[in-house]
Every structure is written in C-alpha cells, then in structure tokens.
C-alpha cells in the first residue's frame, strides 16, 4: 500500500495491514462484479420487458424453474465464500499469533483515557511510543467497563475487558503518528478517548526510554502543568474555560469554597487538589458523578506540583 492510502482505507502502516488490505480489495472487486451482474440484469429486463398499463395483459410464458440455474447460483457463491472464509481465517490467525521476540507493553483502558506501562517502569497516558520495525505485544485490561483498542492504520482492534487480559500485537513499518480510538461505547467521554501511537526509530526510542516522559520538565511549572493537562487527558473531562463537561471546569476554582455532594463545603487548596488527583472519590463536587479514575502511579510528585501550579494560574 502506498502511504497516501486509498479512497477506502487509511495507509497501511503495520506488517499485517498489507494482508488485510489484499483481502479487503479482493472483496471490493468481487462485490462490484456481483453487484454489476445484478444491476445489469435488473435494468436490462426492465427495459426489455417493460409493459405499459394501457396495454392489455396476456399470459406470460417464462420458465418457472431450472435446476441447472439454481445449482449454478448456489455453487459459484459457495466457492467464492469458501475462498473468502479461508483467506480471512489465515490472516486472522496471523493477527493472533504474537511473535516470540515482541516487546510487551501493558495497556489499561479506563473512563476515558488509555495508559501504557513499559517494562522499564515508564508510564504514559494517551501516547503509545514504539520503535519502528519491532513487534509490540499489548497486554490489555480495563479498570471499569469494556473498551476497545483500535488503530485504523495498523488494522488492529481488540476489546479491553475488566475481568481478563486480552492481547493484540503489531509491528509498525514506518515512523509517524497514528490515531488510537476507543471502539466500544463506554459513556460520555467515549468519543474523546482518543490517543496517539507515535512510531519512532530505534535510536529515538532508546533516547525516549532514557529521558522517559520527562519532556517538558525543564519548563516553568505552570507551562509544564499545562502540557500535562492535555498529555494526561485531564482535558477530556475538565474544561479550563468554564463550561461544564463530565467533570467541573477547573479555571478560577483555586482558593474558593465549593459545595460537595456530601453536603459539606471545602476550600480548594493545594492539598484538596492533590487528593482529588490521587483519590478522586474522596470528595465529590455537588452535581457531578463519581467517575474519575485515580492517577496514582501515573503522575510523580513533580508532575502533580506542576499541575497544581497550572490550575492556580487559571482565571
């Protein structure tokens, strides 16, 4: 497949994509052929045997059945679908057999972001960074409802379940940024549960592992916090411009008193913000659902400091 993609499919960017696309296009051409035959027969017969209402009706004498024809249009489609079945099966099995040398990354789906844990101890949110040309095995689970891990460019999709692990794998064939979608409906933030797969060269990947997710640490805390706010998917549920989203808007809340669902009132100071990031269920703002997952393990102290600094700066 060329990098521009086709009118149907996005550019295939994994080793599996070519196999899937070949079958897809076989189906497209076979369908056009069958559809062409049906429509041609339809139009031809209508024109050829058109009858005006004004004409008197007479008996018609076409054949009433033909075993030969019935067999013809039973057997040919049967052969065609057996070809498609076997072909689809073979590629499917390749999708499900993970190469032995694959690097393993743990994927967690939750309302409404993806998090990735690397064996090196690094954790990222909504950004899966992988080296080009190396098979990657994804061991996936959900911490709430069912999600589905879908990268159109790689032609992979696998549901992510709360009570068991599911596995998928891919090997990217060219560097770039690819969209990652949640494909199983999971609530209000479903359509914002979008991440990126960033495919980099082996060398860049090694560098990235060294510095980890430290990008931006040298920035002033407010700016670092602003980038984390997007990078850690806070913006999926919280506005900083005052609109009510799944969670409350976060601009101008610092230092003010807020009503909680429990009926108590609380002042939004640093300790409250820290608690709300690490133990979101502890205090729920009145009028909102207790749906936020914990960020324990996904943010270090330096990053929490930066986020709080950012929230303090918002008018």
């Amino acid at each position: 497949m060329d990098t521009a993609g086709t009118i149907f499919l996005p550019p295939g960017s994994s080793t599996l994509a070519g196999d899937v696309d070949a079958l897809f296009y076989f189906l497209v051409y076979a369908s056009i052929a069958v559809f062409g035959i049906v429509v041609f027969a339809l139009v031809f017969f209508i024109i050829r045997y058109r009858h005006r209402r004004t004409e008197k009706l007479a008996t018609t004498q076409g054949p009433s059945h033909s075993l030969r024809l019935e067999l013809l249009w039973s057997i040919i489609p049967t052969i065609l679908v057996i070809i498609v079945f076997v072909w689809g099966f073979r590629v499917f099995i390749r999708m499900h057999v993970v190469p032995k040398d694959a690097m393993e990354i743990k994927v967690t789906g939750q309302k409404w972001f993806w998090s990735f844990d690397y064996p090196e101890g690094i954790a990222t949110v909504n950004e899966l960074v992988v080296p080009v040309g190396k098979p990657v095995k994804l061991l996936m689970s959900s911490s709430d409802v069912i999600h589905s891990f879908f990268v159109p460019h790689f032609r992979i999709k696998m549901d992510v379940l709360p009570n068991r692990y599911t596995v998928t794998w891919f090997e990217a064939i060219r560097p770039g940024n690819y969209d990652l979608f949640c494909a199983e409906f999971c609530g209000d933030g479903h359509s914002d549960m979008i991440g990126k797969v960033r495919v980099v060269s082996e060398r860049e990947f090694a560098e990235w592992l060294e510095t980890g997710t430290a990008g931006g640490e040298d920035l002033p805390p407010e700016q670092y916090g602003a980038s984390l706010f997007v990078g850690r998917a806070c913006h999926t549920c919280h506005s900083v411009e005052g609109q009510r989203m799944i969670g409350p808007a976060l601009n101008g809340i610092f230092g003010k008193e807020h009503a909680l669902a429990s009926g108590e009132r609380v002042i939004a100071d640093e300790n409250y913000l820290r608690e709300s990031i690490l133990e979101p269920q502890a205090k729920i703002v009145a009028g909102y659902e207790p749906v936020m997952p914990t960020y324990q393990g996904l943010l270090n102290d330096r990053q929490i400091d930066a986020l709080i600094a950012y929230l303090k700066s918002l008018e």
Binding site: A41, H65, E70, V81, S148, D159, L161, N163, R164, D179
Partner: protein, 536 residues
C-alpha cells in the same frame, strides 16, 4: 351510497369501543399500523437529531449525554417497537387469513392481547425517556449497562414485555398456517409471503424467550446485585454478549424474512409472471431461519472469544449468504420474459433488490475474520446494518404498504406523489448511508459524539442525506393520510394479482369472504390465465 364500504370491516361495527375490543385480524393489523407508525415517527426524529449533531465535530446541538441517549432511543425504538412488529403484525395480521382463505387467525383473542402487550411494553420503553433516559446503546452491553445511572430497568422491562407480543403473534401465525388453510390449499400453493411469515414465526417463538431471560438477568443484577455479567460482582460481561446476540442475531432475520416474502409477491405481480424457483425461495427462507441460530458469535470477533469459536462462527455466517443469494437470483429470473409495470410498489421492490444486494455483499466483508477486525464497531457496520434493515426491510414494508393500501382502505393514494417520494427516499437513503461505508473503512468508530476533523466532509454529506430522507417520509405521510379520506375509490383487483386476498370485496367485509373462495388457480398462475385488472 357505496354499500361495499358501508359493509366493510372499516365501518361495521362502528364506534371506538368496537375498535379497541375488536377481534378482527384486519382491525388489529390497523391498530398495529398506528402503533408502529408512531414508533417510526419518534425513532425517526431521534435519527434526524443524531445526524444533525454529527453535522460537525464537537458540540453542534446537544451535549454528549443527550447524544448518547438519542442514539440509544433511536436504536431501541426502531428495532423493538418498529421494525420487529412492522411487517408481521401489520401486513401479516391484515393479510394472512385473507391469503389462505380463512375468516380470521387461529386465536383472535390472543391476537388482540398481543397488541395490548405491545402498547404496554412501548409505554414502559417510552417512559424511560422521561425517567432519566437510557445511554447504553440498544445492545445494553454490560458492565456499562449495570453501572449506567439511566433508566435502564424501565427500558429493558419494556423490551421484555414487547417480546411477549412478538411471541404471541408468532405462535398465532404458526397455528393459523398449519390449521386454517382453505381445504386444498397445500403448502406449495401458498403465497411466498406466507412462507416468509412462517419462517419468521418460528424464530420469534424460539429465540425471543432468550432475550427475555437475558434482560431479566440484567434487571436482577441491577436491582438485587446478583453477579451475572458484572465482573465487580463476580460476573462475566462477555457472557452477556453471547446471550444478547443469541436472540438479536436471529432477530435480524425476524426483521428481513417477512420483507423477502413481500418482495416475492411484488416481483411476481408486477412482472405478471409465475415466480421463478418457487420451492427454492420457500426453502431458502427456512434455511435462513435455521442457520440464523448458529451465527451469533460473528458480532464478537474482537470481543476476546476464542479463535476457534470465531472461526466456526465465521464459516457458519457465510452459509447464510448462500440462501440469500439464491433469493436475489430467483427474483431477477422472475423478471425475465415478464410484463413489467413500474407502479410504486414495484419501484420499492426494485429499490430493495438494489439496496439489499449492497447490504448482503458488505455483510461478506464483515463475515471475513481479518477484515472484520478492522471494520468492526465502525460506521461500516452502521452502513451495512441500515442497508439491510432500511434498504431491505423498510423498502419491502413500504412496497407492501403501497401494494395493499387500497385493500386496507378501499382507496388509492396519488401515484404521482408516491413515485416522487420513492425517488426522494431512494436518493436520501443512499446519500445518508453509502457515505458511511467510506467513513467506516477510514476508521471512524460508531457511537461517537465528537470526531476528528478528517471525517467531517463525509459526516456532513451523510447528514444532508438524512434530511432528504426525512422530507420523503413527511411527504409520504401527507399523501397517505389524504388518500384515506379523499383518495380515488379502488376496485377489487387493481394490480391484476392472483392471490386470494384480491378476490374478496375491497375493502373486505368483517368475515373476509362473502362467498367461499375458490381455488381455481395457484397464486402465480400467470402462464395459465390473463388476469384482468378490476379497478373502478
């Protein structure tokens, strides 16, 4: 004074009570018609609102929660309150006894009860809108549906009740077809619509209880905290998917098989030609009904079920394609050497052939394991589903409704407006849904409130199509309602058809036949006699 009219089932007996307590299958058919048209209107408004919201990314009209409720209501209402009862309960009820020369169905009281159960269930389902809405999608996947704060119980209870209505109708039809046929009307002399209803009834009776049990388990889990599907209580969410699709896959054949029956009638009548391959069409209905029970797992290729299960389900799925193909080719062969008139019902039948073929072929994409992994849960599935359900069943229903309209009301609609509307609906439908095949293949997931900018042009295009489609249905409502009061009076057999319902007066008397129907000819004996159109 038009005595046929005065003596017809429409006018005797008179009064609201005589309608609400009627045991006449024709009146019950009309009661159902009002019910499903109400459901179609509500479901259609939700569909238009969903499409309008999707005109642009982000917020266009409503917030995410409202959008999620609207697509759920669109799906649930259209499927459980409109399309499942549509053909069997309206046209089937109205026609089945007339087609087999009977006075009524086998159990008229059960028939009336089924309508009340339908209304009762629908009230529950619609009440859920007022009681906080439902945002789970019409599939109610767990554990989302266990945790969702919406009125899931009211909606699922409504659907549970609606299921009984469906079972009653199915049971009634099976007994009616077995026991009430005119002496001498053997199985192979039955109109193919009756075969379609028979195959449908078998699935209704055998599969619907499983949905009832599944929804009851879901209600128990939500109400009493009994862990069945929710892993937080020790349940298994994939088990729910198995249960749900064990009914809901056969259910799509409950929706399409009676439509196929109508198409067989329309193609034969408007080609004035013996149907080609009668037995092949009849048996392919039964074959589809049988195989439909064995393919539910094809909704779950990416659910984490085993590779072996996925492979078996994929293979069985392809088997359904073969009898469906056989039907299409037999209908085409029926056109050969016919005398084809392009009246409105025939235009819908031809639209069906065109659209259902696209729906069927794209189904092959989804049955192929490796390709389905990419297309699953994208707009490709949405498009495929609508091509089969709307391009298939709804087109067949509209064709049948126009074809038997004069039989029902004794009057004709405006042929000119009907043809214009058919064109509007055909164009609007294709603009709306063909674009969605492209969206899906490009990776646009379904049930998305917001979407990335690259999908916007196709979404906007699709939304424009939905407005054309909506306009078509508004025009149709106007000319059909107008025709009931002011339409041109119809004769006994305006299309020159040979099935029994066209031999009794129009509109028919309560007892259907004023004199015992005669079985001189079979339903498709156009090669033996030149039927006259009688329409004055």
């Amino acid at each position: 004074m038009d005595t046929t009219f005065e003596r017809s089932y429409l006018k005797t007996p008179k009064g609201l009570a005589s309608w609400l307590f009627t045991l006449d299958h024709k009146r019950i058919g009309l009661l159902y018609l009002f019910g499903i048209m109400g459901a179609f209107l509500i479901g259609g408004v939700f569909a238009l609102l969903v499409r309008l919201e999707l005109f642009g990314p982000d917020k266009t009209l409503m917030d995410a929660d409202t959008y999620n409720q609207f697509f759920t209501l669109h799906g649930a209402i259209m499927i459980f309150m409109f399309i499942i009862p549509s053909i069997p309960a309206t046209l089937g009820n109205f026609l089945l006894p007339q087609m087999i020369g009977a006075r009524d169905v086998a159990f008229p009281r059960l028939n009336l009860l089924s309508w009340y159960v339908y209304i009762f269930g629908s009230v529950f389902a619609v009440y859920s809108i007022a009681a906080g809405g439902v945002d789970t999608g019409w599939t109610f996947y767990t554990p989302y549906s266990t945790e969702s704060t919406g009125a899931v119980i009211s909606m699922t209870l409504g659907i549970f009740i609606l299921g009984f209505s469906s079972i009653f109708t199915g049971l009634n039809f099976i007994v009616t077809i077995h026991k009430m046929r005119l002496p001498g009307l053997t199985w192979y002399k039955l109109p193919l619509f009756v075969w379609g209803l028979y195959a449908t009834a078998i699935i209704q009776v055998l599969a619907t209880p499983v949905l009832g049990i599944t929804l009851l388990l879901l209600i128990m889990e939500r109400t009493f905290g009994i862990g069945i599907f929710d892993p937080a209580m020790g349940g298994d969410p994939v088990l729910y998917q198995h249960f749900f699709w064990f009914y809901s896959h056969p259910a799509v054949y409950i929706m399409i098989l009676p439509g196929m029956g109508i198409i067989s009638e329309l193609i034969a009548v408007f080609s004035h030609r013996r149907i080609f391959g009668y037995k092949a069409i009849a048996y392919s209905s039964l074959a589809i009904a049988f195989v439909s029970f064995l393919v539910w797992g094809h909704h779950m290729f990416t659910s984490g079920q085993s590779e072996l299960a996925a492979t078996i389900f994929s293979f069985l799925t392809f088997l359904v394609g073969i009898p469906s193909g056989i039907k299409v080719f037999n209908w085409l062969a029926t056109l050969y050497k016919g005398k084809i008139t392009l009246d409105t019902p025939m235009l819908y039948a031809l639209s069906f052939l065109f659209l259902f073929t696209i729906g069927g072929l794209t189904g092959v994409f989804l049955g192929a394991l490796a390709v389905d992994v990419h297309l699953h849960d994208t707009y490709f599935v949405v498009a495929h589903f609508h091509y089969v359900m709307m391009g298939g069943t709804v087109m067949a229903f509209l064709g049948g409704l126009h074809y038997w309209w004069s039989k029902m009301w004794g009057r004709h609609y405006s042929e000119r407006w009907a043809k214009i509307t058919c064109a509007l609906i055909f164009i609007g439908f294709n603009v709306t849904f063909f674009s969605q095949f492209f969206l899906g293949a490009k990776g646009m997931p379904r049930r998305y409130y917001n979407y990335l900018d690259q999908f916007q042009p196709l979404h906007a295009f699709s939304s424009v199509g939905s407005l054309i489609l909506g306009a078509g249905f508004v025009v149709m409502a106007v000319y059909l309602i107008f025709s009931i009061f002011k339409g041109r009076r119809a004769g006994t057999n305006p299309w020159g058809a040979m099935t029994l319902e066209w031999t009794n007066p129009t509109p028919p008397p309560p007892e259907n036949f004023t004199e015992p129907p005669r079985l001189e000819y079979g339903p498709y004996d156009y090669d033996r006699v030149a039927v006259e159109r009688t329409d004055t």
